[in-house]
């Protein structure tokens, strides 16, 4: 049963948590640590939710807290014994890709970009997930877009940064 639950959780949230961790740390190793830590917490503390959206929001909240805890130490640690070479399929760096640019933004900006444009949360939900005020979330989002526009000046993407 443990294996079935673990498999179901890994299937449902493994990639999401990997991307969340990567957004935070720009490191696949740390992203894997985040993913494993959160999924282990979910296995240890099973909870039921009225719907999948609320479950997903809770998983993201736990994931964000794990990221915050990991980041408190400048010396992040490895605790996972996975075969790194086999573990993750990573996008190849692309000169004109948007992801490398987003990852160059300060964390406070890239985390709102992730929650807005990948998870498609509104400002209020982003604020609740991050534990900040909606005004601050909105400010970070606006500044993140401005920074990206600056970085993308002259490229096709420049015209396509959504409000």
């Amino acid at each position: 049963m443990d294996a079935e639950r673990a498999e179901a959780l890994a299937e449902r949230y493994g990639d999401t948590l990997l991307r969340l961790g990567y957004t935070w740390f720009s490191s696949l190793a740390d992203a894997q640590d985040v993913c494993q830590t959160v999924l282990l917490k979910l296995l240890e503390s099973p909870r039921t939710f009225p719907d999948r959206d609320q479950e997903r929001a809770w998983v993201l909240r736990v994931g964000i807290n794990v990221c915050k805890n990991l980041r408190r130490s400048a010396w992040r640690r490895r605790t996972v014994a996975l075969d790194e070479g086999l573990a993750v399929q990573a996008p190849q760096p692309e000169e004109d890709g948007i992801l490398p640019l987003v990852q160059q933004l300060p964390l406070k900006y890239r985390r709102v970009i992730y929650l807005r444009y990948y998870e498609e949360y509104g400002v209020g939900e982003i604020a609740r997930l991050l534990g900040i005020s909606p005004a601050l979330a909105s400010t970070h989002l606006a500044r993140a877009r401005a920074r990206l526009k600056q970085m993308l000046e002259g490229s096709d993407y420049e015209r396509r940064i959504p409000e």
Partner: protein, 350 residues
């Protein structure tokens, strides 16, 4: 931009092999979860213990020391371990700290549990963990720890060994170690947590006794070679400097620094597995390459870390720990090659 960002991020995903390894790791972790650091006893066990608790502390006669069973009794064990032989008995159950070994950041403690005559400590017991509560009052760092159970030479008898691996994380890397420090240690029972089909958790307490070892002086032979090579190396075309190197019976520790490593997660981009990049090859005097052990507690290069150089006030640094699964024979080591740079371990120049 929204679609491009989403599309690029979605290409980051677990491979089928990686997901399977993740599930295996999660299953193993959940089946052997750490119990809370408090005595976890069933009411019945607690009542029994309360009315009949008898404790005694004294020397015990033990069979083979547990770390000798676990690591094998080779030259590495003989050079770098210390016998302890401190036993605590509670209601006929005796827990003996048999021996210890370690270096500046890792400490291994061997324990033998002896049940009352007639009790069989079988496979259930080998899958359980003692519930530890320890501290090093004079240290200023944090800890991680894991239990291992060495192969039981006789699963039908009333004795079983356990090994406690402790990783010490000093507040300032490399500033102090565990050797010679006082340690307070108490073990509150042996058990595990089972997750039932309905998802609820069940504490399975195999033994609810408490073994209080009080304050112990933990000391073991210091065979660590501490070098400051300050040699230039290249990691995936990025120049760095090998500032510190420690080779101990437990493994190899390497510190790489250099301004070119600043923000290395960004320029190694999706290959941000920076601590996997430095090549570390350890050779003995016969020219044999010693194979690291990925199943050593704390994982492949576990205990490694980096500061990524994101903090402008700190020099960028990568620290890599590589373990071998047994205690190295320090007298047999010849050289270590780090990113292609050879460093003799017993005199000579790199």
């Amino acid at each position: 931009m929204r679609d491009e960002y989403r599309s690029e991020l979605e290409r980051l995903r677990w491979t089928p092999e990686g997901r399977a390894a993740l599930v295996r790791s999660l299953t193993a972790g959940a089946g052997r979860q750490r119990r809370a650091r408090r005595p976890l006893r069933t009411a019945a066990l607690f009542a029994a213990a309360a009315c009949a608790l008898t404790l005694s502390v004294g020397a015990a006669v033990v069979r083979l020391p547990v770390l000798e069973q676990y690591f094998g009794g080779g030259a590495g064990y003989r050079q770098s371990s210390a016998l302890v032989g401190k036993a605590v008995t509670a209601n006929g159950w005796t827990m003996t700290l048999t021996d210890c070994a370690g270096d500046d950041r890792y400490l291994c403690l061997g324990f033998e549990l002896e049940a009352p005559e007639g009790t069989v400590l079988g496979p259930d017991w080998a899958a359980a963990d003692p519930d530890e509560d320890f501290d090093f009052p004079d240290s200023r760092g944090g800890y991680a720890w894991q239990w291992r159970c060495p192969e039981d030479p006789d699963p039908t008898d009333n004795r079983l060994g356990y090994v406690l691996w402790i990783e010490y994380m000093p507040r300032e890397p490399g500033t102090d170690g565990l050797n010679g420090r006082d340690m307070t240690l108490r073990i509150d029972g042996v058990g595990y947590i089972r997750i039932l089909p309905d998802g609820t958790r069940e504490d399975v307490v195999l033994c609810g006794e408490t073994w209080d070892f009080g304050t112990l002086a933990v000391a073991y032979p210091d065979r660590t070679l501490r070098l400051e090579p300050r040699l230039p190396v290249t990691i995936r075309e990025v120049p760095a400097r090998l500032t510190r190197l420690e080779v101990s019976p437990v493994g190899v520790n390497v510190w790489l620094e250099g301004e070119a490593l600043r923000n290395h997660h960004a320029f190694w981009g999706n290959y941000g597995l920076c601590i996997d990049l430095p090549e570390i090859a350890l050779y003995d005097r016969d020219g044999n390459l010693l194979e690291p052990d990925p199943y050593t507690p704390f994982g492949i290069r576990g205990g490694s870390g980096c500061n990524a150089g994101e903090d402008p006030d700190s020099p960028p640094c990568i620290h890599v720990n590589q373990s071998y699964g047994y205690l190295l024979d320090m007298d047999s080591l010849d050289r270590v090659e780090i990113c292609g740079v050879s460093i003799p371990l017993h005199g000579g120049e790199a």
